[in-house]
Symmetry: C2
Subunit: 191 residues, 2 copies
């Protein structure tokens, strides 16, 4: 999606530790009109695949998952990073190591929102090493549901997680793929 690359070039900044900051439009401030287009593009890519649920991880995946689900006409389901008093104890869990936060946490989703009959599209803002996606895939498997694929706003391709998933036969669609990133330059990989 050329518009995503242009947005990253115009507004993104590279921080130490291979962190791409896109807080102005993707995960701190939300450029909602732009993210609506992102949601429509994700829906276009997976329109023919009979998706019944969009699955994402709180918090920064929620906005694009919401807008992708809106365009697909299906519900979104949020995997929680932090236990809540109003969440059921009957959950699918996965331990996820965070690249950005340098920690490991147990994420969970209530079983009632993932059914064996579901065809699940995983949506997230970033894909680096793939740990979060693998955690969500584990939950989809536990539920006996079908994974249709993964839609990612920005893949940091040089970190390898996306290509590992593709090598395993998982369909991963990333709207922008960064293949090189330093403090003063950034380039994209295009298929």
């Amino acid at each position: 999606m050329r518009a995503m690359e242009e947005k990253i070039i115009a507004e993104g900044t590279v921080l130490p530790g291979n962190i791409l900051k896109v807080g102005s439009f993707l995960n701190q401030q939300l450029d909602v009109q732009f993210l609506r287009e992102v949601g429509e593009e994700i829906a276009r890519l997976f329109r023919a695949d009979g998706v019944t649920k969009v699955l994402t991880l709180e918090a920064s995946g929620i906005a694009i998952a919401t807008l992708a689900a809106l365009s697909l006409g299906v519900p979104a389901v949020i995997v929680k990073k932090h236990a809540s008093a109003n969440q059921s104890k009957d959950v699918y869990e996965a331990e996820i190591a965070s690249f950005t936060h340098k920690n490991t946490y147990v994420a969970a989703v209530a079983k009632e929102y993932l059914q064996a009959s579901d065809r699940v599209l995983i949506v997230d803002d970033f894909l680096a090493c793939g740990n979060a996606i693998r955690g969500l895939m584990h939950m989809v498997r536990e539920a006996g549901a079908t994974l249709v694929g993964c839609a990612i706003a920005i893949e940091k391709k040089f970190q390898g997680g996306g290509d590992e998933l593709r090598a395993e036969g998982i369909r991963v669609e990333s709207l922008a793929m960064v293949d090189h990133m330093t403090d003063d330059s950034l380039s994209f990989w295009r298929p």
Copy 2:
């Protein structure tokens, strides 16, 4: 908003400790088509007020804030509960006590996303004692921005936070106001 009351009656459940669980449509699974109507209703209520930013608190406010911002044609800004490596250190902070989670945390928003010229609409899923709203109001004040009002999906009116804010002259619009709640009954207050 009668549709919100009907949704709560159809899908909500009351848990011990005055917790209203609406995970099937508002904050675990998202009924995105319904939340789109919620966003449109919030936009209708504040259309004439020159809103320039929608401000919400991660994670459960994000979906309705995104859809309200979409209908209003403005960006949404997310106040973070959890510090992140890609967040600026130059932030407005507030200490917030959580009714649901029985803890206190420091929430923060990067200063660059709240300007003195902004006219801010605070959007959240729940209003109980009003602690989260007051934390966000503190950030709006610190930024020198103008608070236009607060739009809430579900107000637990019997906990008093909404009426305290109204008594201080804050415009609080709640799409459903629960005035009584027990394990087997729930009633709404209507102005």
